[in-house]
Amino acid sequence: MLIAIDERSTEPLFRQIASQIRRAIAGGKVQAGQRLPAARELAGSLDVNLHTVLRAFGELRDEGLVEMRRGRGVTVLGRRQQADLRQSARVLASEARRQGLSGAELLRLVKEYL
């Protein structure tokens, strides 16, 4: 699993981290039951604040992709399809933002395909 972040991107660092982990889950690079590296370790490797990593983990937990337990760290739940869909939505949203679409306009666009 590769996590790369770019300080010059407009996207917040915690989103970038969450996005890369999500992509690794969707791609099967990390599997169900596998434990992610400790937040402190990732923060040290990426030279970011510990809370940035914890916030990324929190986002993935809220999406139901990982489980966080005190003393056991973060365990991947391995919902590949769910992760894949979320990742696609994220890519779509950031592309729409880049092209200057408003939220309402994007929703209208998506509705056309439902």
């Binding site: 590769l2 790369a4 972040i5 770019d6 300080e7 596998q34 992610l36 590296p37 490797s45 990426l46």
Partner: protein
């Protein structure tokens, strides 16, 4: 793998190698055929005095059977359809080692009998000298057999350029990979702990050794490899301890390779970076990361997704230069 190269290797292993081993082993009997007593002294006691004899023809048959079996056994091992290049090389070296030892024993035997009027007057053989000669003969033959693998096609293991993870300039990154051992290592681990418990009932002290073996195996049931701007960290076992570190400054380049455990001396931590300049951390067969280090040293680590890991390490190295 190229077909004719494979056929040549099979012929070498199956026919040439056993014949060469037998000829080398029997050569002294033919060279000194007029100068040997009949029967020959073939056994010596711990004081180095001959205490057993055998007719020359008996010795010829015994050596042929022993050397032939050793070389042929190894050939069969490497003959399998799916034997890898390294497996074949190892089988060749092992056959050479066994055959070389048998040949060395026969040379010693014949030389001790040289010009003796009867087998009881044969020369004395002393254990340390015999052991040294036998080991040297085996080692020499193993090296020769290893060199003989030149018959194989020597295509480089890595084709194409250095892997890259496409890290953007100025970006920061970490790569996390892991490898898990197959059931064999788990079976040995659990077996060792079971043995430790069982023996502890009889004598608590007796449980210590299987317990140590079990712990040593447990450490290699899984590894986690982390690559970042500091270098590479390898965390062993379910507790992520101990941790081995390689500084980024010590790495020259990283590539991916396919690891055959037997070619690296088996499972666990093999070799030594300090002494042999080559070490391998092997928990399973398959995909692995190869780190070329400063001072012509090589570290190999079995890990999933090694290509991406190697790519990031190369990118980090390029960014730091």
């Amino acid at each position: 793998m190229n077909g004719s190269g494979h056929a040549a290797r099979r012929a070498l292993l199956g026919i040439v190698l056993p014949v060469v081993v037998i000829v080398v082993a029997l050569l002294p009997l033919w060279l000194f055929r007029g100068r040997l007593p009949q029967p020959l002294a073939t056994h010596w006691n711990l004081h180095g005095q001959p205490n057993g004899a055998m007719p020359v023809m008996g010795l010829v048959i015994l050596v042929t059977v022993l050397a032939g079996t050793a070389a042929a056994g190894m050939s069969v091992f490497a003959w399998r359809r799916n034997a890898g290049r390294r497996e074949i090389s190892v089988a060749l070296a092992a056959a050479g080692f066994l055959g070389g030892q048998i040949a060395a024993v026969n040379w010693l035997t014949v030389l001790a009998n040289l010009d003796a009027p009867g087998w009881r007057q044969a020369g004395h053989l002393h254990l340390p000298g015999v052991l040294l000669t036998v080991l040297a003969g085996g080692a020499l033959a193993a090296i020769l057999a290893w060199l003989g693998r030149g018959l194989e096609n020597t295509a480089p293991a890595i084709t194409g350029g250095m892997p890259s993870a496409g890290l953007a300039p100025g970006a920061r990154a970490v790569w996390v990979g892991r490898a898990r051992a197959g059931w064999v290592l788990w079976a040995v681990t659990i077996g060792s702990f079971a043995l430790a418990i069982l023996t502890s009932f009889r004598a608590p002290v007796a449980g210590v050794i299987p317990c140590i073996v079990g712990l040593a195996c447990l450490v290699f049931t899984s590894i986690r490899v982390i690559a970042d701007r500091a270098g590479v960290r390898i965390a062993y076992g379910p507790f992520g301890w101990p941790v081995q570190r390689v500084q980024l400054a010590d790495i020259r380049q990283a590539t991916m390779l396919h690891v055959e455990p037997m070619a690296w001396g088996g499972w666990g931590h093999r070799g030594s970076l300090k002494i042999m300049k080559r070490a391998a951390i092997v928990v399973r067969a398959g995909e692995g990361l190869r780190l070329e280090l400063t001072g012509e040293r090589t570290l190999v680590i079995t890990v999933d997704g090694a290509e991406q890991g190697a790519g990031l390490i190369n990118d980090l190295l390029a960014a730091g230069r």
